[in-house]
Symmetry: C2
Subunit: 334 residues, 2 copies
């Protein structure tokens, strides 16, 4: 049985959500444990997760390897896989890459929306590509088996990361810009380079990444997936919902502004729509993965193709990507 895997969530975690993950049949989720947090603050977030794991061993556990997905399926639980949306957690210290890997970090974005020490975010005017430190850190991430995630990065930086990384990278949560032009969605150039090197794209259901936003229809979303699969092949596509379930609007302010500005930055929103946008009615949360499955069947994908899109492709990517001992998927794909 192919697992159901979500390539990215950042919920206001609670037992209620863990129960919904079970009810929704979600076998593994890449969860964001850090945005703007520094190393110590990221460790504090891990401590909170450790408490969740201790209190709810019947629902969730921490996933370290691809094999943990099978364990999740066998024991009827959800594997929680850690990731960071910004390299703030390694501060300016390349030695923290291995330390955070050991603590379970499996994905790290080289940038959030702004310039980082490593690369450029998609909201900057100018794009350096990988910086001197960025090239060093990507090599270290490759060595230990921590996935480079470029979901929020600018074009040249993303292409640089794809080229410089010796292992396939991921864009865990974004859509093709050709379908819906948005700073966070990705160009054909990026998607082509990504798929040609075995890199994964997780389709996002965050309304600002959707054509027609919160009013986007399930059929339209699944049609977009079908067109993307026709263009780039189906093997490296998955879901990365970007679900921010139960989060208060203060959190999206913090995501956008962190502590880098004293002004208001609306990010993908606007003065009149500053908070989290309403999710489409066909995907309100972890109970609704069956809707996506049905939608994919509805646009003509075979049962095997739906399984690949819902988690099979992520599973293979995890097998190739997590840890130093894995074969580099990029070389295999080339």
């Amino acid at each position: 049985m192919t697992p159901v895997i979500d390539g990215l969530q950042y919920a206001n975690w609670s037992p209620k959500i863990f129960q919904e993950m079970r009810a929704g049949g979600v076998d593994a989720v890449h969860v964001t444990i850090s945005y703007h947090e520094d190393f110590r603050e990221t460790v504090a977030n891990i401590q909170k997760w450790n408490q969740f794991f201790e209190e709810h061993p019947d629902l969730i556990f921490q996933g370290f390897t691809a094999d943990d997905i099978a364990l999740a399926q066998r024991t009827g639980r959800t594997a929680i896989i850690f990731g960071s949306q910004n390299p703030s957690c390694i501060e300016d210290d390349i030695g923290l890459v291995e330390v955070l890997y050991r603590l379970g970090l499996r994905f790290m974005q080289l940038t959030y929306n702004n310039q980082s020490l490593l690369a450029t975010g998609c909201y900057e005017d100018a794009d350096t590509g990988l910086t001197r430190m960025g090239r060093e850190v990507v090599a270290e991430m490759n060595r230990v088996g921590l996935v480079v995630d470029m979901s929020h990065s600018a074009e040249r930086s993303t292409l640089d990361a794809i080229e410089h990384s010796t292992r396939s990278i991921a864009i865990t949560h974004a859509n093709p810009a050709a379908w819906h032009p948005a700073k966070r969605n990705k160009s054909d150039t990026v998607l082509r380079a990504l798929s040609e090197t075995g890199g994964m794209l997780g389709f996002s259901i965050y309304p600002h990444h959707l054509k027609d936003g919160s009013d986007c229809r399930l059929a339209g979303f699944c049609e977009m997936i079908a067109r993307t699969a026709e263009t780039y092949g189906i093997a490296h596509l998955g879901i990365g919902t970007d679900l921010c379930q139960d989060q208060p609007d203060s959190v999206v302010d913090w995501m956008r502004m962190g502590t880098w500005t004293k002004s208001v930055d609306y990010g993908e929103g606007s003065a009149t729509q500053r908070g989290f946008p309403q999710m489409p009615d066909w995907f309100a949360g972890n109970l609704d993965f069956a809707n996506i499955q049905a939608g994919l069947e509805g646009v003509g994908f075979s049962r095997a193709e739906v399984a690949a899109l819902m988690g099979g492709n992520w599973l293979r990517f995890f097998q190739n990507s997590f840890g130093a001992q894995a074969q580099a998927a990029k070389k295999a794909a080339e």
Copy 2:
């Protein structure tokens, strides 16, 4: 009596050096208290300085305002003015600008050699100019009266800072690239934009910034100053020796490599000359400021001009630049 002011030193501080400052007639020094240190580590460095101030009140004290230079002259001591060579000390938190100002920070470089969260360093291949956070932080530095220092920054970033800053900026330690081409020396475009906006240039005696390096003659150095004064005017020129007195070579490795790489980076040095270069024989340390004075007289500067170059210009810049209450020198200069 015009004071003698050094625009930058990073020595292995000791009572011996403080005594040499007195013997050398140095009234104020902008000292580097932070390179790659984060906020807490920078505070620890301030604590070390507090101990020096407590133990040697007859030799040194912390300077907070331009008026403290007169106090130093009146009491026969050296005013120590804090600065940082990298924005690591504010981490990713704009709120730390005001906090560090309150602790006495009066200069902050927006970058060391690499890309920072604010701008691009002179060793990177590509140059973003000021980032989104960089523009916000420069505005905040302008508000509180903390000087923007672009000594180690790349060309476009430096021009951006000059344009974006509402107050004059400084290049505390560098020389004209036309005299000695080096990544750390500055182009005519930068020096023109700097001087036209009331910004200060401190001439460096660090051998990698000198024509003929450690063998550079005093007359050649002073001739270069004379040519620079002819081209850009004398009003915004001073000395910024970049003296790293008594530092072991391990420190220059740390300056260059911090914790951003696991490889060796030679910076301005090379595999065969990895350590600190030997200082020119006419400027071995704080005892030798009189040699520079004599050299400047030797190339034809008047006594008043020599006084301006040795400290008078820095004093006026401090008056205009430190603190929120000061008039913005840039506006006055335009």
